[in-house]
Amino acid sequence: MEYVVNQIINGICQGAIYALIAIGYSIIVGVVGMVTFTYGEIVMIGAFAAYYTFQLVGTNLVLAILASFAASFIVGGIVYKLCYERFFNSPRHISLLCTIGFSILIKNLAQIIFGPDTKPMINIIENKSYTLEAFGISIVIKQLQIMVLVLVIISSVALTFLFQKTKYGIALRAVSQDKTAAYMVGINVRRTAMVGNCIGCGFGGVAGILLSIYYYSCSPLMGSSFSMKAFSSSVLGGLVDIRMSALGGLCIGIIENMGIMISSATFRDIFAFGFLIIVLIIKPTGFASSGKNRRVKSEKG
């Protein structure tokens, strides 16, 4: 019993990590309206920005967060200019291939610039764990896991608030739903989309710091596996819905850990993808209500 509960807790924490990266992903997809394969590399850029900040100015988390937000924000801007802006009216596969190309570009440039080896990130945040005793079960939670979990909840609530209530957020949503209509009511579509995309990327960068601290390392190739999981979580949540994407991430994390509990860790991805495919077959738009993503759905690939 204790074992099962601990595994569920593990699943939730793992899911929280997926959720964290999925949130940034769904902001980007929501605002730009196109799917991206560069996101994992953006996360990696954020992690490296933090790594070099720690190297240069010492363990200053605030500075590191600023640095990686800025770095990812800028790279996000480049991605926007290169891969999206020109292709808003083109078939989707064109910008998709562009993002694949850009991801290859960043991955290899990173290996040239940062070197191919894995860099250690340790002792940034104290490695502590808490043991809770309840109903005769002892549950072990790491401090970092709690941090990630809290951050996911705060950011999904805050971002939802930003999108629902603020003027800027409403403009972002308008752009994400119908670019032509948004243009007609006087929204600067290109700039809004670009800033929205960059915010999503910046958020991905910050997620990158947490990831690298959580796993004590960063490497130029760290992005690809996370980007697949972010992509899965986001698809599960209906691509554009931030809270649903976070929920999707949590679900994938829990399902994976349940799967590992009954079989082997080698099947991790089979559980994740299998679950996702089954959900999509039952409900073709993921968790989100089907009306919400008509736009994404109806666009021809």
């Binding site: 799917v35 570009l105 077959i281 690939g301």
Partner: protein, 332 residues
């Protein structure tokens, strides 16, 4: 321009025969088997990209998991020839059919899905196939893969040299082109294209889009399986890392760079990409940087690909103003 086109049309047969003669005699010209291997790689990727083009280019579905079907073909061939001693010539069509069956099974649930959701399911399928290949050790050899896949034997001659194997791969590609061009000229091909262009209209004309989409998927998967089966003995061993998503993405890049929705496009794409990545090998990381830059530049300059027509739905094309005016004036 028109003149050139007319000449080509006029001497079509001549050009085809000349091209065939060059292709058949190529191994005599290229003596080094290293270069022949590159030529063989081009042929393999050309066929794989073409099979993807069937799905992406002709029926407008967005499949990202072609590596999965490729893997099914390759593993079927590897397992049956190595562990069960079947002849390659028997296994070959079997592998194609098994991949086609997979394609059919994947197409069933995806009929309800559109756009990126469909892409995702194909992508997930490809990953699942790869992980199964990686973990099902008793059958697929797990991480060790399957080694020593026997080379096909024809008239008592073992085809282990790239110079000989070239003909198998060439035959596959030509057979593919022959059959596919015939299908595209029939109502089946037209139905696929009509689904790509305007699926609602196609339905209103009685085109059963579910049936044709899944037929399209099955057909595309069949050829991916066929070339997969031909690929396994060529490289002599298979392991799961050969069928990662990157393989699928490479095929996609070839299709798009060459030109979606044209028969020649994926072939041009695979020539360009293979020659590029092979010849820049000495640049190490920089060659991928250059490869990536070329993909992006290509999408900027010629989104329809080298061979694609600019006025096609696949290029996001707009109807050309000039020709439109002409039509209007002619109508009056």
């Amino acid at each position: 321009m028109k003149k050139v086109k007319n000449t080509i049309v006029k001497y079509k047969l001549f050009f085809i025969l000349a091209g065939l003669a060059i292709l058949l005699l190529l191994p005599l010209v290229i003596t080094k088997s290293v270069y022949m291997r590159h030529v063989c790689n081009v042929l393999i990727f050309a066929t794989l990209a073409s099979s993807l083009n069937i799905i992406n280019g002709y029926s407008g579905q967005m499949c990202l998991g072609q590596a999965g079907f490729f893997a099914v073909g390759a593993y079927t061939c590897a397992i049956l020839t190595t562990n069960y001693g079947w002849s390659f010539w028997v296994v070959w069509p079997v592998a194609g059919c098994l991949a086609a069956l997979m394609g059919y099974l994947v197409s069933l649930p995806t009929l309800r899905l559109q756009g990126i959701y469909l892409s995702f399911v194909t992508l997930g399928f490809s990953e699942i196939i790869r992980i199964i290949a990686q973990t099902w050790t008793p059958v697929t050899g797990g991480n060790m893969g399957i080694k020593g896949i026997p080379f096909p034997i024809i008239f008592g001659k073992e085809l282990f040299k790239p110079h000989d194997y070239y003909y198998i791969l060439l035959a596959t590609l030509l057979l593919f082109l022959f059959i596919t061009s015939r299908i595209l000229r029939s109502r089946i091909g037209r139905a696929w294209i009509s689904i790509r262009e305007e699926s609602n209209a196609a339905r209103s004309l009685g085109v059963e889009i579910s049936r044709y989409k899944s037929m399209n998927f099955t057909y595309g998967a069949f050829w991916a399986g066929m070339i997969g089966a031909a690929y396994a003995p060529y490289v002599n061993f298979v392991d799961s890392s050969q069928f990662s998503l990157d393989t699928g993405f490479d095929a996609l890049a070839m299709v798009v760079i060459g030109g979606q929705g044209t028969l020649i496009g994926p072939i041009i794409g695979s020539v360009v990409v293979t020659v590029l990545t092979e010849s820049l090998r000495f640049l190490q990381y920089w060659r991928f940087v250059i490869y990536a830059l070329i993909i992006i530049a290509m999408m900027w300059v010629r989104p329809q690909g080298i061979a694609g027509a600019s006025n096609s739905i696949l290029a996001g094309g707009k109807i050309r103003r000039s020709s439109r005016k002409k039509a209007i004036s002619r109508n009056r």
